[in-house]
């Protein structure tokens, strides 16, 4: 793409399993904490072996007006609270946020499962829809989080909600980046959000990809890249970033947290559920080519690594092939669990913090690397290092693969 406009990151906000705010997320990551806990309700479900998750502590939703909040399930509350933090950090005025030049690109894996479940339970109970409230549909529709967050913020530019399961927020950030680079919007509020429901854990458990051997010691799982890993731990939360055309950001003297310099997403059509190493390599190499960067320029890879047996091996082999064993790699799933559609954004936010503070967060619960994942430099203890270029990987069921490449802000 020639003559494309440059794109800065000027704000970020999160509601993570550790609580609300980027500061809260960073403090817990620095301490090496785990947000994973036992879920007693899930122990009551027959056949569900995985009974652990990482869920968001109580969020103060009263900051959102009742007229907007009534249409929101938890995922939209999380994304709105995170978006308010991000727009405040970016110093965006209300006039700027509500200008047609500002759009929103936000996605979840699906609409609210809890709300759909409640609808059908009521229908089964009463054989009637007379007890269903008018707000139900707005919580179950696929673009619920995008529509609700846009309504709460007063967005008048484009709204896009490209759901892609666990890679959703890498795609929303990438598409927002391309939207600004192409000159179609000046500012994009982007990211992902999800609320935990046992359906998500069940989906992975049915496929033998959910962790269940650590139900009695939940903070020992998930274990990305570790020989004793046994699968995903589902989680919830929201991550929001403010992307802005570079000159637009500079003109208003915004603090530029980082610059997005590459994005690639490719499909792997051989199998809807299996990861594909070569496609991951192609994503990483394509994003590096776009940014005109070489392997030796990359300072850190924030891996998707969810702690599934196959997924971690495929990603490790891809990283080894794309950037060899010279680049430090870690996954944050051991701290946060898998925050699904929010994972790409929350982990990119954490990566920007690593760049800012010059310290790499290690992979929690990685004690003995799986020999099948060898060939890469695992970060297993906090590492102080100057970080200028970061690759963020994110993949999803459905053959979705994606890579975002960010660079420390420069004055050129």
């Amino acid at each position: 793409m020639m003559n494309k406009r440059r794109v800065a990151i000027t704000g970020m906000g999160t509601v993570s399993p550790f609580g609300s705010g980027v500061k809260c997320l960073w403090e817990h990551l620095l301490k090496g904490d785990s947000a994973v806990q036992i879920m007693p309700d899930m122990q009551e479900i027959g056949g569900l072996r995985s009974c652990v998750a990482a869920v968001v502590p109580a969020v103060d939703a009263s900051v959102i007006d009742r007229k907007k909040r009534r249409f929101m399930s938890p995922m939209s509350i999380y994304s709105t609270v995170a978006a308010l933090e991000a727009t405040a950090m970016a110093g965006l005025s209300e006039e700027k946020i509500t200008d047609r030049g500002t759009g929103l690109c936000l996605a979840s894996t699906m609409g609210s499962s809890a709300e759909s479940e409640a609808f059908f339970q009521e229908l089964n109970r009463s054989s009637s829809i007379e007890n269903i409230k008018s707000t139900m549909f707005f919580k179950t529709m696929n673009h619920s989080c995008a529509a609700n967050t846009a309504q709460a913020l007063g967005i008048t530019g484009r709204i896009v909600s490209p759901s892609a399961a666990c890679a959703s927020s890498n795609l929303t950030i990438g598409l927002a980046y391309e939207t600004i680079a192409a000159g179609n919007q000046d500012i994009m509020i982007c990211g992902g959000t999800d609320e935990h429901h046992y359906l998500a854990t069940a989906v992975f458990d049915i496929m033998n990809a959910a962790s269940y051997q650590y139900n009695n010691e939940p903070q020992q799982t998930p274990r990305p890249f570790d020989i004793n890993r046994d699968g995903v731990v589902c989680a919830e939360g929201a991550g929001i970033l403010i992307l802005e055309e570079m000159e637009c950001a500079r003109k208003r003297n915004a603090e530029i947290l980082a610059e997005i310099v590459g994005f690639a997403t490719f499909s792997a059509p051989d199998n809807i559920a299996h990861p594909d190493s070569q496609t991951i390599v192609d994503c990483m190499e394509s994003s590096m080519r776009q940014a005109r960067l070489r392997v030796e320029d990359i300072d850190y890879v924030n891996a998707h690594a969810t702690a599934t047996i196959q997924g971690d091996i495929a990603e490790a082999q891809a990283i080894s092939a794309a950037v060899d064993n010279k680049v430090p790699v870690s996954s944050l799933k051991g701290h946060l669990g898998h925050t699904m559609a929010a994972s790409g954004a929350i982990e990119l936010i954490a990566s920007i913090q690593m760049m800012h503070y010059g310290i790499l967060i290690p992979t929690r619960n990685l004690v003995t690397p799986d020999p099948k994942c060898n060939g890469i430099d695992f970060v297993t203890i906090p590492r102080k290092i100057e970080v200028n270029i970061i690759i963020k990987n994110s993949f999803a069921l459905g053959g979705i693969n994606s890579t975002i490449l960010i660079r420390r802000n420069r004055n050129d």
Partner: protein, 88 residues
């Protein structure tokens, strides 16, 4: 159930559902102009009242004629009396 008890249940249900300030719940409060209710709030109000009293208002044309909270009180009181007379 006395009229006062019925009115209190209506007001309490609305305060809980719509997060109104209890001090606003006066009979002359206009449902739209004072309480800020919109068409979807009226849909949910019908569900809330059905849940509280077992009365069905969804197809009642009088619902569209409610202007004030006092109008709503009178409608529910009338419907409740009808139900009680039918022994339901």
């Amino acid at each position: 159930m006395t009229e006062t008890e019925i009115i209190n249940i209506i007001n309490d249900s609305m305060v809980k559902e719509f997060e109104f300030d209890p001090d606003m719940m006066t009979p002359d409060a206009h449902m739209v102009k004072d309480l800020g209710m919109d068409s979807l709030d009226f849909v949910d109000l019908v569900v809330v009242l059905q849940d509280a009293f077992g009365i069905k208002l969804r197809n009642e044309p009088q619902v569209r004629e409610i202007n004030t909270l006092g109008d709503l009180h009178n409608l529910v009181l009338g419907k409740k009396r009808e139900l009680d007379a039918e022994g339901k």
